[in-house]
Assembly symmetry: D2
Homo-oligomer: 138 residues x 4
């Protein structure tokens, strides 16, 4: 069972008013929820700086009719099967596919997979997004 | 059928040597592939600045045993069903879930969904990643 | 005279412990100061999204012995003199100069100056940094 | 004397057309200059990942009438005088100052200075910008 703690924050009136506008715009229920979110964002950045046990996603967009690209992407993912949690495949249009690969583990390994996919002929765009295994944010 | 064009690039020896090291490290097959990737990255940034017809993913990490959170997340996604392509759900551990939502459409709408999910009690981390519908990168 | 307000924030014990470690590492005097900083960061991002009355710096690194580059950089800065507050020049080594240009005004104008400098032959690196005129953060 | 090398890049017609539009918009003189810039950007990122011999700027915005803040900022900068190249000070309005500190050296040291300034009461905004000592981009 987690224990809830409470503490006071001081802020001048103007800054608080602006903060309340921000909360409203971003649909937060109350100040505590917004502040907890701001804090947790920083921790995920730190997790990734340490690089030991991160979670994240790789997104690639590619043309499926490039010779052998589908086989290559499949083979590569099997080589990294220990780090890949699951893959989501989207047929964007006649030519383009988007594939989203959820990963966890060592950042070095995740980057190796990222570079391997990114450099394939036919992969037109690739991007990596930070997430977290969640444990550190309790 | 796409037509291939060729043009020359000049670079001093040192910079070219460094570029070749970079290519090797990032596993590119040749200089052209690496340069095409550098160029396409800029275009996706521009697509998102225009904000008209983008593609991307939202990642959230949440605790599934927070009261009503699963229902709320489902309801919200149905409200944005025109923009959501598909969703991938991962059970990280006993407490934490990761959900990856592939989206396309107007950036304003995507951000609205993002803020709505991000502000839910129980959502501990959220992040948004740029991708592309691919058409512009042919 | 600014009026100070105070409000309560609730957080579970673990998250608060981690937050206190973060505060210590980043040398904040107390939780309020850290939270105010997290909040103000978001406002500067919003200022730049609106783009109307921003402040920031452009940093360029260039080789001063490239033909005419010093004159060109000076001429360009005079063309944008309404937006440039001041310029700091550093002789990095025999070949390289770093120039830091503090700017304020419309984001569109700032970007125009940035692209004009960035594209000059001899400018080897350029970067733009967000800051604020400060008024909105009172 | 630096030796200039030349190599060919292949690209399909559509991508090249888009690239030429990008070049025009960003005011580059020719394709080579634009490509060299894209490449050098990546190298500065790598320099900062290594963290050994970087250059950069710290920007802070603060209210000068907060008790002792001017003295504190001066004292801190003297403690880091080995890493600080020079400082540019701007009086934004009656209340707000912007100070831009050009730095070089070890990233760890630069971050330490950054956190020390950022956490001061009265410092309302702070930001750090990557630059380069230039040597690696020849």
């Amino acid at each position: 069972m987690k224990k809830l703690k409470r503490f006071g924050v001081s802020m001048n009136e103007n800054l608080l008013k602006k903060f309340d506008d921000f909360i409203k715009k971003q649909k937060y229920k109350n100040r505590s929820e917004a502040i907890r979110d701001l804090i947790r964002e920083k921790f995920v950045e730190e997790e990734w700086e340490k690089g030991k046990n991160v979670a994240g996603c790789i997104v690639i967009v590619y043309e499926h009719n490039i010779r052998e690209i589908v086989n290559k992407i499949t083979d590569i993912q099997h080589m990294f099967s220990k780090n890949i949690i699951s893959t989501q495949h989207i047929h964007m249009d006649e030519e383009n596919c988007m594939e989203i690969i959820a990963m966890k583990g060592n950042l070095k390994k995740i980057k190796e997979l990222y570079f391997t996919l990114k450099s394939l002929k036919g992969v037109k765009y690739s991007s990596i997004i930070k997430s977290t295994i969640g444990k550190t944010l309790k």
